[in-house]
């Protein structure tokens, strides 16, 4: 096994709930509650979960876009949270993020060419004369045309904007790309284009992805290893084949069985979970999933299950496994 590219250890990110006379913290939303992920170079780690699972927060804390509460994030052995701001800024090009919303993540008043090229200049990765060529190269790599370079974001469709967002990250030759629901806002036919682009870029540029999505079909297609989050905790991580062939955690099972499959009259076992996702500010005791789990026993409500190694690359947090 190779050296990890990104090592997230026991990461916690709590958002305070403030209230009262002096704005005292009266509670905490444990958006990320003790998560560990190891990502190796060249792999695609998929992080799935429903709303409120904290998957996006993991993505943002993993590259120190927000502060953590506890834990460690090491990028190639360097503790990101120990770096002084200037050092961190220098490291930024190596750690890129692709946003979900291709509309709000591009500055409406900056031309595409400048949006892609400015960081190159800023970090001295290219001279003024080279920038334009570098931008043109990356545009064509991302399936855009050279004449797009002088246009403004509002002249593009959602799919094209997402390509611009990818190009903006890619031009910096990053080693890790955190993609936060990059295809969720796109139509099916455009989704396929972008998914293929992600795949191709991984092959040509040797990229490593932390791919965050709620869409299990997309994750299965793209990722080599997968982690399933529920209410800030990791329920299960496994290699893709293991996870999709034989999910161990009841939540993973339910999640997989809930995904609609475009094959009519397909007979399959279905676990329809009862109830709603609990409020992350007030998660259930013990195993956070016990309120909705069809297999829950008394112990689940009392004791928080440990995230255990269960052989191979599999880890599961469930008393019943």
């Amino acid at each position: 096994m190779s050296e990890p590219l990104l090592d997230i250890r026991r990461l916690k990110k709590y958002f305070p709930i403030k209230s009262g006379l002096l704005n005292r913290t009266v509670g905490q939303v444990k958006a990320v509650d003790d998560i560990s992920i190891t990502i190796r170079p060249g792999e695609t780690f998929g992080l799935v979960g429903e709303s409120g699972s904290g998957k996006s927060t993991v993505g943002r804390t993993a590259i120190r876009l927000t502060d953590k509460t506890e834990g460690e994030v090491a990028f190639k052995g360097v503790d990101l949270y120990a770096l002084p701001p200037q050092e961190l800024r220098k490291l930024r090009p190596k750690l890129q993020l692709i946003f979900q919303d291709p509309y709000s993540s591009l500055n409406p008043r900056v031309r595409v060419g400048d949006a892609i090229g400015e960081a190159l200049l800023e970090h001295g990765l290219a001279s003024k004369d080279e920038v334009r060529d570098r931008v043109l190269d990356v545009l064509s790599l991302c399936g855009l045309s050279s004449y797009h370079i002088d246009r403004f974001p509002h002249e593009f469709s959602g799919g094209q904007r997402q390509r611009i967002g990818i190009a903006r990250a890619l031009v910096l030759n990053p080693e890790l790309i955190v993609a936060d629901e990059p295809v969720s806002a796109l139509d099916v036919s455009i989704q396929a284009q972008i998914i293929n682009l992600f795949r191709r870029l991984q092959e040509t540029n040797g990229l490593t992805y932390l791919f965050i999505s709620h869409d299990l079909s997309v994750v299965e297609h793209l990722c080599s290893r997968v982690g399933v989050m529920y209410l800030g905790s990791m329920a299960e991580t496994a290699s893709r084949d293991d996870l999709f062939r034989e999910p161990l955690h009841p939540y993973t099972k339910a999640l997989l069985s809930a995904v609609p499959i475009p094959i009519p009259k397909l007979k399959r076992e279905r676990i329809v979970l009862k109830g709603d996702i609990p409020n992350p500010a007030n998660p259930p005791s013990g195993c956070k999933f016990h309120t909705r789990c069809p297999f829950a026993v008394a112990r689940c409500a009392e004791e928080r299950p440990e995230f255990r190694h269960v052989g191979g690359e599999r880890y599961v947090a469930c008393h019943l496994v």
């Binding site: 490291l91 930024r92 993020l97 946003f99 591009l106 031309r111 370079i149 469709s157 910096l172």
Partner: protein, 310 residues
């Protein structure tokens, strides 16, 4: 949304070609503004008002400001379209000269208060923390004190400093800006706070851009539309405030004419009842200017700041 070609070249940039014909948001906004009839009518009236007041007196034969006893208090006639005043001066000429002062005061105090308000508001919103607290608390304080009495007190205070009458207009500008900045600062702060949280600002952090670049290249340009709207709507308010102050003898004082202190003639019972040509024309000028500025400003708001449509 597809591309629409043509339009004006926007700000030049290092990587994109300068001679580009692609449309920036600015060009789009301008095009839509040109289609707004009310706004354009307002814009034209404002422009005319400026032109008439600043160029008009050059063509008037009555600019000497001398006292002509023979011409005292003549109603409008062919020689003096708006009649003459108690000193035999041509009212039309005085209205135009007054317009110069009133418009200058309005414009200058707008520039000053928008400058102050946006600077302080932007600092408060961008740096937050202690700077924010201090600036906004002072703003709250000034907003608590009723503005008209405040202006009156300040006007009276400054009157006693024996400021030469010709310099009083500068004092009035300062006064109006002093009273106006907190409201502007509040709006700007709110906008900066919301811009800070926009995803493209996060994207700038991810790209590792410097704080300077984030502020000047990404945040401030997006603040400009709001500033333009505030500025245009603020001129009208400033012209109105100046006229009130001058009408009550606390603003710009005669012999320097302004629209406000010309209406002061109405405080004389005979002038008020018998000689409306002395005070009605400046009143209409104020009205016409302010309504035109407001229509234009509203049009600007529509094209630049669609989410704040009111």
């Amino acid at each position: 949304m597809s591309a629409i070609s043509g339009g004006l070249p926007a700000a030049d940039t290092p990587i994109a070609r300068k001679e580009s014909v692609r449309t920036s948001l600015w060009a789009l906004a301008l095009r839509r503004l040109l289609q707004n009839k009310l706004a354009m009518a307002g814009g034209i009236v404002v422009a005319l008002m400026f032109a008439i007041c600043f160029i008009g007196p050059l063509f008037s034969p009555y600019t000497d400001n001398k006292i002509h006893m023979a011409l005292m208090n003549k109603p409008p006639n062919w020689k003096h379209w708006l009649g003459t005043d108690a000193l035999g001066r041509d009212v039309l000429t005085r209205v135009m000269q007054a317009g110069r002062i009133s418009l200058t005061v309005g414009l200058a105090s707008m520039v000053l208060s928008v400058f102050l308000g946006s600077l302080l508001g932007a600092i408060a919103g961008y740096y937050r923390g202690i700077a924010d607290q201090i600036i906004m608390r002072i703003g709250d304080l000034l907003l608590t004190v009723p503005s008209l009495p405040l202006l009156f007190i300040l006007g009276a205070l400054l009157s006693e400093w024996k400021v030469p009458p010709e310099d009083r207009m500068y004092i009035v500008m300062l006064l109006l800006s002093f009273v106006n900045w907190p409201g502007i600062a509040r709006m700007v702060r709110g906008e900066v706070l919301s811009l800070r949280e926009r995803e493209f600002m996060q994207a700038a952090t991810v790209l590792g851009l410097s704080a300077r670049r984030k502020l000047f290249r990404h945040l401030l340009p997006n603040l400009v539309p709001l500033l333009i709207v505030i500025a245009s709507l603020n001129i009208g308010g400033a012209v109105l405030s100046e006229s009130v102050l001058s009408f009550f003898g606390l603003g710009v004082m005669p012999p320097t004419p302004t629209w406000g202190n010309m209406i002061d003639a109405a405080n004389n019972l005979i002038d008020f009842q018998q000689r409306p040509w002395l005070w009605i024309p400046p009143g209409f000028c104020i009205f016409a200017t302010v309504i035109a500025v407001n229509l234009f400003g509203d049009g600007l708001r529509d094209v630049l700041d669609p989410k704040q449509k009111r």
